[in-house]
Structure formats: structure tokens, C-alpha cells
């Protein structure tokens, strides 16, 4: 008996396109969160010069009654310089695509460019901190690598050094409250780290997951939890250097920072430009459309003792 089946449907009616694009895997951009934003003014040269006065010594010796004027001190300062670089990328789309495709290609292309811009900014900060900040190797772990895995002892050494360097914490404490299985959260520095470190982080003694904060809504979206005076921001694009440890394993850089430790310097009027050029600009035949972004920026550590890169490997045991 002849049966008509769906196999006889013509190709154009065998599918329906969903009208919503699927979400694109997009990492948390954590590295600019603690950064101060500064601007290099237009027509102001290539470099922003920041100056920090050096503290004067306390005057601990009594002046006495001799009337003799003691020697004074000299005002001194350190200059911190930053030269922005230009970054950008673009996509070029043939006009026939926009003419014939039922998909709004330019719309979602613009959305992807926006994410690309912000991810570039974030990764620039990450790479700057990885290359220029002072680092401390985790050495208290037992995974027989150098650096070892994260331990509370290593984390304590870092936030102790930050406090001793008079770094201010970024986050105020969170008060305790009458909720089961919650506890207050200390004043805290921020740590920015790779999501690969989650198991090791949760194994650190005293780790407090975000859900156990007395007010979890006070946490950031990218926040994973706290270890004593450090609150951890986690991202899949956290700093990780493959083949970098003594045993050839990936080294993870966790940047633990206080307030005002680093900045990003933007070229005024050039911090983020979206550039759309219709096909008329592509040549005599107006064949291609382009859209892209460019920006000028540079990250800079302002006070080197207020940010420490805590390097670790994974506990593979």
C-alpha cells in the first residue's frame, strides 16, 4: 500500500528556523573590576604620567629648647607612566549576504564585536598583571610541583603582605544574620582567578562559598566564595600559563589586590569606537560592508605592593 510520508516533503519545508539565536558562551570579565579608570587627554602626548608622593618620615626626636632649627626633609615622588596602544578588529560582509540572507547578520555580528571588545580589554589587564606584578609561588601544598597547589597558608601570606603594605581592602564586611548555615564575611581583598582552580579553592581550609554569606546577594555574579580576607572572582579566562611549572604543568595566576592597586588608562575619545562602513566605502562596486571596533588603552600597576600574583598548580592527587 502506498503511504505518503514526510520524506516526500520538499527541502524548504523540512525545517523551521528558530527566531532566537542561541546564547554564546561568554566568560565573566573580572580583571577590570578592581581597576581605576584614567584618561589620557586628547592632544596630550602618548603617555600619561601619574605621580605618587613618597611619605615623609615621622619626626620622632624632640626639638629641645636650644632654638636650633633641625634639618628638614626633601619632598620626593615616584612617577608612574603608561603608554596606551591601539587595538581593534572587524568583520567584512559581502553585500549579497545582507541582501539575501534571512538572518540579521549585521545585528548579531555587532553583538559579537561588542563582546570581543570587552574581552580584549579584560585579557589585556590580565596579561599585564601576569607579566609585571610581583609573584609569590604557593609552596605549602603537597603536590610535588613548583608552585604547589593553593593552600590557606599561602593565601594568608599574601593578604598579610598586602595589609603590611597598607593596602586598603576593597569590600566591606557583610554583617552576620539569623540564617541557618550562613556566617558574616570579613572585609576583603579581591582575588581574580581561573575557574580551573575551583576544586582547589573549595579544598582550602575555611573556604566560605557564596551561598553561605549572610547576604549572598551582596556578592558579585562572578564571585565564588571567600577565604578569610580574600573574596574570589572566577572566570574561564582567568590567567593560566600552560607548561609553566617546574613539572611542566599549567601555572595559575591568582591576582590578589587591594584598592587602587592598578588602573587602565584610556585614550580620551578613543576608549571604544564601533565603526560601521556601508558598502559604498569598499570600492567602485560597493561590494562589501565592514564593521569593527578599535580602542586605545593600557593597564598599569600603580602601587606594586598592593597587588600580588599568587601562583599555583592544580592538586591532581
Amino acid at each position: 500500500m502506498a503511504i505518503t510520508t514526510t520524506s516526500l516533503l520538499s527541502a524548504p519545508v523540512q525545517q523551521t528556523f528558530s527566531m532566537r539565536l542561541l546564547s554564546v558562551p561568554t566568560p565573566y570579565f573580572i580583571h577590570k573590576i578592581p581597576a581605576t579608570v584614567k584618561r589620557l587627554p586628547r592632544n596630550g602626548g602618548r603617555t600619561l604620567r601619574m605621580r605618587r608622593p613618597i611619605a615623609l618620615q615621622p619626626a620622632m626626636v624632640p626639638l629641645g629648647n636650644s632654638g636650633v632649627t633641625p634639618p628638614g626633609q626633601t619632598l620626593q615622588a615616584i612617577d608612574i607612566d603608561a603608554t596606551p596602544s591601539l587595538y581593534g578588529t572587524y568583520v567584512m560582509v559581502n553585500e549579497q549576504v545582507t541582501l539575501q540572507d534571512q538572518d540579521p547578520v549585521l545585528n548579531w555580528g555587532a553583538a559579537r564585536l561588542g563582546v570581543s571588545l570587552r574581552q580584549t580589554e579584560d585579557q589585556l589587564v590580565r596579561d599585564c598583571l601576569a607579566g609585571t606584578a610581583a609573584f609569590v609561588n604557593c609552596t605549602a601544598g603537597a603536590n610535588a610541583d613548583n608552585p604547589t597547589q593553593l593552600t590557606l597558608q599561602d593565601i594568608q601570606a599574601v593578604y598579610t603582605a598586602l595589609v603590611s603594605a597598607n593596602a586598603y581592602m576593597i569590600m566591606d564586611h557583610i554583617d552576620g544574620t539569623l540564617k541557618f548555615n550562613s556566617s558574616p564575611v570579613r572585609d576583603a581583598f579581591f582575588a581574580m582567578a581561573s575557574s580551573d582552580l575551583i576544586p582547589d579553592l573549595e579544598a582550602v581550609g575555611g573556604f566560605q562559598p557564596k551561598a553561605q554569606y549572610s547576604f549572598p546577594t551582596d556578592a558579585l555574579k562572578s564571585e565564588w566564595g571567600a577565604t578569610n580576607n580574600v573574596r574570589w572572582l572566577i572566570s574561564s579566562i582567568g590567567s593560566a600559563i600552560a607548561n609553566a611549572s617546574a613539572n611542566g604543568n599549567t601555572v595559575y595566576n591568582s591576582f590578589i589586590t587591594g584598592m587602587d592597586a592598578y588602573c587602565t588608562v584610556l585614550q580620551d575619545g578613543y576608549s571604544a569606537q564601533f565603526i560601521y562602513l556601508p558598502a559604498q566605502f569598499s570600492g567602485p562596486l560597493a561590494l562589501n560592508i565592514s564593521m569593527g571596533y578599535k580602542f586605545m588603552e593600557v593597564p598599569r600597576i600603580q602601587q606594586d605592593t598592593w597587588l600580588i600574583n599568587l601562583r599555583s598548580t592544580l592538586n591532581l592527587g
Binding site: 602618548r46 603617555t47 604620567r49 605618587r52 615616584i78 612617577d79 608612574i80 607612566d81 603608561a82 603608554t83 596606551p84 596602544s85 567584512m92 589585556l124 596579561d127 599585564c128 601576569a130 607579566g131 609585571t132 606584578a133 610581583a134 609573584f135 609569590v136 609561588n137 604557593c138 609552596t139 610541583d145 613548583n146 608552585p147 604547589t148 600559563i241 600552560a242 607548561n243 609553566a244 611549572s245 617546574a246 613539572n247 611542566g248 601555572v251 562589501n288 593600557v298 593597564p299 598599569r300 600597576i301 606594586d304 605592593t305
Partner: protein, 356 residues
């Protein structure tokens, strides 16, 4: 290439005999290199023209060598490591893992390997998984090639010999942001201490640095009085006790301090002594002490790092990452022998090849 455009560039350089880097921010699909000195000179047996495109194995390429009888060009493939290496300074900077046999107790330490053909002076390597010498693991070192089977950790102090095998990887590029944190190999006890660094440092007179000298053992790193101290660089390139000139001289008197010492293999795992760039002491930068030295951030070969400032702004943090191609140096290689005049032509083409 991604652009879908056609771009052609050309240029020239006089070879120093070392590996030459050509920067191509636009990317690159193909490259011709012409060694004019070889082309026009009498004689034979030397590479005169070279070609690379994106289909080729990293480190290799095509060479056209002058033949003896007719000066005709004979084509062949460049040996591994002696051709073209395209780099886009993002992602993992480490090359493939290579075996090493041992590390000597010489000054500087000599690393015994199967062959040094793919290595050149000024390269940076990282050592791993050695038997003995564990304190070197995970640290970057600038190298010089000693002979066909040895390279030296050029700026390193002597260690207790590592008799057993291990591995190393070439570090194809450093952190993209200048000025960089550097690992200390030696510090002198002197009125103005001389600090030797494991990798070519590019720092300049007038820059301020902070010294990080962790206490690892009773002996290492010894000079803990310097830990956390700020210092101004008053000279660069002064020879240390071993004659190494990858040094900075600071305005700190270390004559009464403990003796700087590296940890031993038994002290593993260890932390490292570092020089951390802070900023600029403009008073020193504007009035540098005698002898006056050029305040230009330079690489191993003396070339200024791209995008960096000179003089009292030489401390400015900037991104020095590049996209481009390395031409292996030396006679018969695309980078040429010392004083060879080399021209090149490079292009980005329409993509009609899936390998592009």
C-alpha cells in the same frame, strides 16, 4: 587571511648574523627574502633566496642556493629551526618539549642536549623535570649556544650539577607588557649593588624597582635585608663577578648585608627573588649619573622594544606584543650572515586555499 584583502609590503635590513624579526600587524600569507650580498657575490653553495607561506612547517621554508657551475638556483627545504617561524604573540608562548641530558656546575651552567641546531643566542628557555637542579624548574633563562650539543644559561650562577635528564621548552615570547618582572640570579655586596637577572631585562637608568628577596632557607636567598626595598637603577650593563652584563646597578649599599645565595635542589619547592618594576625616579632619569647610558628599552640584540618610550618615560607600561615572523640568522639562512644586505617582500592574499 581573514581580511579578504590583498596587501603587499616590502623592506630591507642589514643582517647582524642573528635571528631577525619582521613585524606584520596585518598578518602574513607569504614572504620572499632576497640576500643581495649573496646574490651579487661570486661563489656558490649559499642560500640566496628564500620563500615561506602558511602551508609550511614552523621553523622551515624553502631556500634557493647558488650552484657552483652556473650560478643557477637549486631549490630545497630549509633544515628544521633554520628557516621561518611565524608568531602571533598570544596564547601559549612555549614551544615543544625537548630532552636535555644534564646541567653542569660550570659558570654559567652548560646544558647538554642532543643538538642545538634549532637554538640561537638570545633565545629564552624554561627548564623542567630535571633530576637534581630542581631549583631551576619553571624559571626562564636567556641562553647562548656553546656548541652543537651545549647551550649556556647565560646569566645564571653556578649550581650543584644536575646529573640526570630533564626537559626544556623554548619560550617564543615574553609577557607582552613592558617593563617586566624579572628573576634575580645574583646580587653583589657593594656600595652600589649589581643585580644580575635571568632574562635580558630591558630596564633603563632612572627606573625604580622593588626587590623581592624571600627567605627560603637559612642560606637562601641570604640577602633578605633587601626584601621589599625600593631602589633606583643608576647604571645598566655593568659586569658582575662572572663578567655577565645583563645587570642593573642600584643605589643601595649592600656591603653589610647577607650574601645572596640561590636555593639548592633539596629546597624545592621554592619561591624566587625578583625585581619588580615600579615607575620612574625622574630626578635620576633626567640627570643620569656618569657614565651616561642610553635610556632605551632594548632586547638581547640591542633593538628597541616596539612601542616603548625612551629617556625619562622609559618606564612607561606598554604592550610590546607583535605579530610577525622570525628569520633564522646565519649564512645560508633567511636572516643572513653578519653585514649581508637583505630585502624582502611579503603579502596577504585573497583566501582561495583552505590552508590559508
Amino acid at each position: 587571511m581573514a581580511t579578504g584583502l590583498t596587501i603587499i609590503q616590502n623592506g630591507s635590513f642589514t643582517s647582524s648574523g642573528n635571528t631577525k624579526f619582521l613585524s606584520f600587524p596585518m598578518g602574513l600569507d607569504w614572504l620572499w627574502v632576497y640576500n643581495q650580498t649573496v646574490q651579487y657575490a661570486a661563489g656558490a653553495g649559499t642560500g640566496a633566496e628564500f620563500y615561506w607561506d602558511t602551508t609550511m612547517t614552523p621553523g622551515r621554508g624553502t631556500v634557493y642556493t647558488k650552484t657552483a657551475a652556473t650560478n643557477a638556483l637549486a631549490v630545497t627545504q630549509l633544515p628544521a629551526g633554520l628557516g621561518f617561524t611565524y608568531v602571533n604573540q598570544t596564547g601559549n608562548p612555549f614551544g615543544i618539549s625537548n630532552a636535555l641530558t644534564s646541567i653542569s656546575n660550570a659558570t654559567p651552567p652548560q646544558v647538554l642536549v642532543g643538538s642545538t641546531a634549532a637554538l640561537t643566542n638570545g633565545m629564552v628557555v624554561r627548564i623542567y623535570n630535571t633530576v637534581g637542579g630542581l631549583q631551576l624548574g619553571g624559571v626562564d633563562f636567556t641562553i647562548t649556544v656553546t656548541d652543537g650539543t651545549h647551550f649556556a644559561l647565560a646569566y645564571m650562577r653556578a649550581i650543584v650539577a644536575a646529573g640526570g635528564p630533564g626537559t626544556y621548552r623554548i619560550v617564543n615570547w615574553q609577557s607582552p607588557f613592558y617593563p617586566r618582572n624579572r628573576t634575580i640570579t645574583k646580587i653583589s655586596n657593594a656600595v652600589q649593588a649589581i643585580i644580575t637577572l635571568s632574562v635580558t631585562h630591558s630596564l633603563t637608568v632612572g627606573q625604580k624597582v622593588r626587590l623581592v628577596i624571600p627567605k627560603q632557607t637559612a642560606l637562601a636567598y641570604g640577602m633578605t635585608q633587601l626584601n621589599g626595598m625600593e631602589a633606583t637603577i643608576v647604571a645598566t650593563g655593568q659586569a658582575d663577578v662572572d663578567g655577565v652584563t645583563n645587570t642593573i646597578t642600584i643605589n643601595v649599599d649592600t656591603t653589610g648585608f647577607g650574601v645572596f645565595a640561590w636555593p639548592l635542589t633539596a629546597d624545592f619547592p621554592v619561591d624566587y627573588a625578583q625585581v619588580v618594576p615600579m615607575g620612574e625616579n625622574s630626578a635620576v632619569a633626567l640627570n643620569p649619573p656618569i657614565p651616561v647610558q642610553a635610556q632605551i628599552p632594548v632586547d638581547y640584540f640591542g633593538n628597541q622594544l616596539p612601542g616603548t618610550q625612551a629617556g625619562y618615560l622609559a618606564d612607561a607600561t606598554t604592550d610590546v606584543a607583535q605579530q610577525g615572523i622570525y628569520l633564522a640568522g646565519g649564512a645560508g639562512n633567511p636572516g643572513g650572515a653578519n653585514a649581508d644586505f637583505v630585502t624582502w617582500m611579503a603579502g596577504v592574499s585573497f583566501s582561495v586555499n583552505p590552508n590559508s
